[in-house]
Symmetry: C2
Subunit: 529 residues, 2 copies
Amino acid sequence: MANCFHGLKSFGAQAPYRWIRSQCLSSLSILGGVYAAPETNRLVASGQTRGMRTNSTAGVEIKRLPFSRVSQRDLAFFEKALPGRTITDPDVLASSNVDWLKSVRGSSELLLRPQTTEDVSQILRYCNERRLAVNPQGGNTGLVGGSVPVFDEIILSTSLMNRVLHFDQVSGILTCQAGCVLENLSSYVEERDFIMPLDLGAKGSCQIGGNVATNAGGLRLLRHGSLRGTVLGLEVVLADGKVLNCLTSLRKDNTGYDLKQLFIGSEGTLGVITAVSILCPRKPKAVNVAFLGCSSFQQLLKTFHCCRGMLGEILSAFEFLDGACMRLLEKHLKLNNPIRESPFYIVIETAGSNASHDEEKLHHFLQEVMTLSLVTDGTVATEDAKIKALWALRERITEGLTHDGYTYKYDISLPVEKIYQLVEDMREHLGDKAKNVVGYGHVGDGNLHLNITSHSRDPDLLAAIEPYVYKWTAGCRGSISAEHGLGLKKRNYIHYSKPPEAVALMGDIKRMLDPHGILNPYKTLPDSC
Amino acid sequence: MANCFHGLKSFGAQAPYRWIRSQCLSSLSILGGVYAAPETNRLVASGQTRGMRTNSTAGVEIKRLPFSRVSQRDLAFFEKALPGRTITDPDVLASSNVDWLKSVRGSSELLLRPQTTEDVSQILRYCNERRLAVNPQGGNTGLVGGSVPVFDEIILSTSLMNRVLHFDQVSGILTCQAGCVLENLSSYVEERDFIMPLDLGAKGSCQIGGNVATNAGGLRLLRHGSLRGTVLGLEVVLADGKVLNCLTSLRKDNTGYDLKQLFIGSEGTLGVITAVSILCPRKPKAVNVAFLGCSSFQQLLKTFHCCRGMLGEILSAFEFLDGACMRLLEKHLKLNNPIRESPFYIVIETAGSNASHDEEKLHHFLQEVMTLSLVTDGTVATEDAKIKALWALRERITEGLTHDGYTYKYDISLPVEKIYQLVEDMREHLGDKAKNVVGYGHVGDGNLHLNITSHSRDPDLLAAIEPYVYKWTAGCRGSISAEHGLGLKKRNYIHYSKPPEAVALMGDIKRMLDPHGILNPYKTLPDSC
């Protein structure tokens, strides 16, 4: 199986750390914890952090909470409970301690690899009693530092929990362990004429448990809705080791509070998801992808409006990238622009049950937007290889950005008509401070990925971006994290999107479910909680 | 505006109570609280219950919890806070004290009609301090006794909170107060070329706040998903009067825990929903309804399988009724069966953006199922009046049942291939104890409405039905309440669908959010919580 993260090959345990400084450190200003120190291009080794109690970077300080440290006796317990799956080898631990962006690094000395729910239960029960902090980890493809330890938290990896438990051919309901890799599940259900309701660039590595824990969005949300609707059941191990079995496979169930919703999107801070039941849509019989050029964002919005009306129920994605993104793809990844150069590009996907109907709808739509001059140029693909090539122009932007320099990443939710105004305002606001300011994302969901690159880490640039970007977003009642979550990096900005009463209630929920705070500490909730 | 409840005209404040005994009392065995005493055909008047501390019916006893009673000083406070909207007139209170099925009756002496969120906040803050119990009430169309007081709880009606706050013509996002009637909202958005994502038989009376509080399902769930996906934001007043403003209008927001999910489906026990933001789909350009006959449930399931494949993205409803339902419709409501008599009938609705494509798909599908002899007869409607007439055969079954005698109602979620087996097993199990055992419901959602009628209330029949029906459901890992909720009637059966750890956690959540238990007591949570 391909091991791709967001279109990039994985570096695995032998990550070329030299690569870090020049290309991959991102948003360091808001990072705390133990991380790669770019000044020295040296990753802080685990052993060096044993005595570390606080860490201060770019004005943000995180203090290690008074959890116990792993003792020889603890190790002996885990080795007995998980023989061969209790990892202390520093080489193996290295890749689990650092996130995909290489922007956050913990110093955990212990990685546990449970295979069963009972294993997870046993681990958490013990850790809760011993006050040992735990960092649940899936595919470790998150972008906000939520999936790696900050200090010496025990890493609980779900990678070996990768069994499909059941698939119902009639209803399309899949039940599987949390550690199943999304791409493997996609292949599994596609062989049975269904598709997974979510699709992400990180599918080659990300795990379904992590997808659910972070409420991942992705490319199919416009059509199939969020995981809050498609996830039918969850099995979760609570902080004290109690197993909460809500793994039902029913489309409808109104017996009391829907507890699974608490764990969807809580980033492992309220419980460890061990199994998932999810509703898979039928595999469409026909798929088309159109790649179009627009002369302005206003024209792009009009095209979107027209598209929703004319493609209606077969529209499965409406994504955009700006001209700056295209230039990065051409320059750094040598991808070819298949159409005439434009200020904006659109990727439209249709998926339906009747190829000729879909083609006719698409044809009428394209005729209409060309006649109205909403679209200046375009190309359509119906074959799998060509479809993949067009999608690559949207999916490989993250990769292109990493080659452009140090990247400040923002994942913003806004009313759709406002999403590009933020990019333009930011460009004007930053002037020549930034190397590139680019915008792309999910138009259909009102979700902008705003990325700002510079030649190297630049505190002045950062000070110009933040809190400007958050204030701008809050001014439009937008969300400062549409789909990436808060993790370690964004948690202290939560008040730009949530009122104090909501944040306080989140703290109450955390204390109720995890009174000793052992689950993924320093994540999701702000310091004020 | 039509004032229909589940296809029946409302009786309003002057309900003909004589009607109750013969037709409307349902599932009395599991009712507690103060209710119509069928033996005497006399509703217990409010005044008579002041001293009542417990109520015992058919072996189930409910004890009034030690809440304060409304004093003159309390009344004076409310009259000052809500002048003209603090109701103590017994005639007005009568209809708010009894549920639509006339099966549960409380003895509240005070009805409050807030107009604003601030009004609700002021009421709850006061009630919480004074330990006065509150029964939030929307359109009072629930079927499980969740929307009326059990004893003397203050009724907090959202009926005057009926303003549309905002509608975004681009995104289709509607923001409105909780008391807006669903049918009014439907008309409002349909004039703007959108539809509400839910449709219920009770639409003429039910309110959007109540729909969300009960996580109502209905006829469009198959296509547009549940309210957990379409509700984007909520404003909720907590038990202590604090306003939780999560009224965002964003399709995606991953900033912390999704608190609104706690209140969706919690039946007013965790907070009072005061405003809702909801995503409305585009109004389809073409709608077709097919009414088909099948010779067996096995053929019906094969038809469903074929339908999902061939109608795919335009399928918007797949409902069924059995021959026994049709006989009730013909006998009691004088409705005509438009096709040949069959053991099973299907209602299929398509909704799409291109009339000729949809008709072609539907035509091919019908040809296929007729050729395969899956369907024995059928008719198709494309005009609005004919569509309504076909839908009436499905929507008016509840009404037909009320004319057939005393009805025991069950709302069961099961794997789709099992849904009719329960009806057959129940029929065999009951033999001639029951007058009629009928099944209908939402095939697409695996949701069976099982109804059993008898000439009058019959404890022996009830003892034969329960817990048989719950055990049968639990044996298939089904849900004992697919969409109706638990309310007063089903709450003590929650353990058939939820494990003890889940029920215990629900209790913890209730205590966290409503430590004095003033919000809709005796509802949703079992006595053991």
